[in-house]
Symmetry: C2
Subunit: 219 residues, 2 copies
DNA sequence: ACGGCGCTGGCAACTTGTTGCCAACCGCCC
DNA sequence: GGGCGGTTGGCAACAAGTTGCCAGCGCCGT
């Protein structure tokens, strides 16, 4: 057994960025997870940082970003992700679970977001090998079953506004007749909606549609 | 910014147990996650440990255990979980995702399983506040959407052996006619299976059944 | 106003799914 | 063998879902 100086705490994105920017500059394997774009990802657009990233060719670095599906409901955020993917060749996946903000560099260093204190979020920087491994394993477990952004995007964007309530009614097991009445639609039109929904989900039966919808976190 | 001696590594369950047993004895909030019962949970049945746990009254301690659904497919393991729940008043939930072996004590100390080296698994013990917080947040995120064992159990146990292939066929969007042929069943019988399945899932429509099945990780 | 375009919803024909009924069948125990 | 409980699967009646067709309506732009 041994003990090492392995965890460093920084407060606020500014400090985090200042301390780790040089690491991002050389890292060849970056993995990160977040519920939203509110924090370090925003700071990422700092001029210096942007410059730094711009200098790197896609292919130099393996970028994996894992976001929560709810994020996609915001068109601006969604566009931002797509841009990230196109400009930096980032692999972006979407999960339906909540996830703590996490960054892993080259499987050798972990940054975990802590809580807010005095308006600034604290971050733990971990370099201890076994701990990094543990966190990496947690990340991989979340990454593997997550859906590719491109897939998720095309499937969802249309659907969510196409059939917001239809999904609810279906998942409540309401019969078409009653569902149509609820939505003040003709049965024909309601069923048209269901058909469009199934089409968008690539489902051939309602059972399949249900499974897919749940899979995508729509219900 | 400050740096602390925050991570301790131990090798093998024996050492882990020796080092942390006293902590389990006094902890009032224990959270753990695992894919299987193969490791520390087995060691848990050590005589000393059993003795130690037996002395504590349920209610003294909040025990949360998160396991992977695949575990339930093994009847022995399933029974073990149920016993754990009944004897120690543990809250047990099931998730469909893989999850790294993790133990959190009183939200103040984290044990993360590392990899195997020389036949012994290594464990990182973390006490650093922010890091523990980060891991706790990850755990909570996994815990929240997970299903209560009791619920999961009654729903699943029967189903899995009731309708293993039926689920597959349904989720492939195969029509009853074809599905029945595939299983060399009469259409009537196949539909009987589907009905039983839906009943077990508490679903009133196939859409609902699909969503539930996906929710429970059955498809 | 007029025509085009898109969405709506009634109708109808058809498919698929849901259920009760019952005869046939199988394994088992007496 | 004969009775018994459980499963099977054909039949049928009915409910639910799927689709094409088409008339009606509102919203443009000309």
């Amino acid at each position: 057994m041994h003990t090492g100086e392995a965890v460093t705490i920084v407060h606020g994105e500014q400090e985090l960025l200042a301390r780790t920017m040089h690491l991002f500059a050389t890292a060849t394997d970056v993995a990160c997870a977040a519920d939203d774009l509110a924090t370090w990802a925003t700071a990422q657009s700092t001029d210096e940082f942007a410059e730094l990233v711009r200098d790197r060719h896609p292919g130099d670095v393996r970028l994996r970003k894992l976001y929560r599906s709810a994020l996609l409901l915001d068109p601006v955020a969604a566009q931002r992700l797509a841009r990230d993917r196109d400009r930096h060749g980032a692999h972006i996946r979407i999960t339906t679970d909540e996830i703590n903000e996490t960054i892993i560099l080259d499987r050798r260093l972990v940054i975990l977001a802590g809580d807010l204190s005095g308006g600034r979020r604290s971050y733990s920087i971990i370099t201890q090998r076994e701990a990094v491994q543990g966190v990496t394993s947690l990340f991989d477990a979340a990454w593997r079953p997550a859906t590719e952004l491109a897939v998720y995007d095309t499937q969802i964007a249309e659907i969510r506004q196409l059939a917001p309530q239809v999904l609810d009614l279906l998942s409540q097991g309401v019969k078409d007749e009653a569902a149509a009445r609820t939505l003040r639609l003709g049965v024909r039109t309601y069923r048209r909606r269901v058909a469009e929904l199934m089409d968008a989900l690539g489902a051939e039966s309602r059972f399949q549609a249900g499974a897919r919808a749940r899979e995508l976190g729509l219900v």
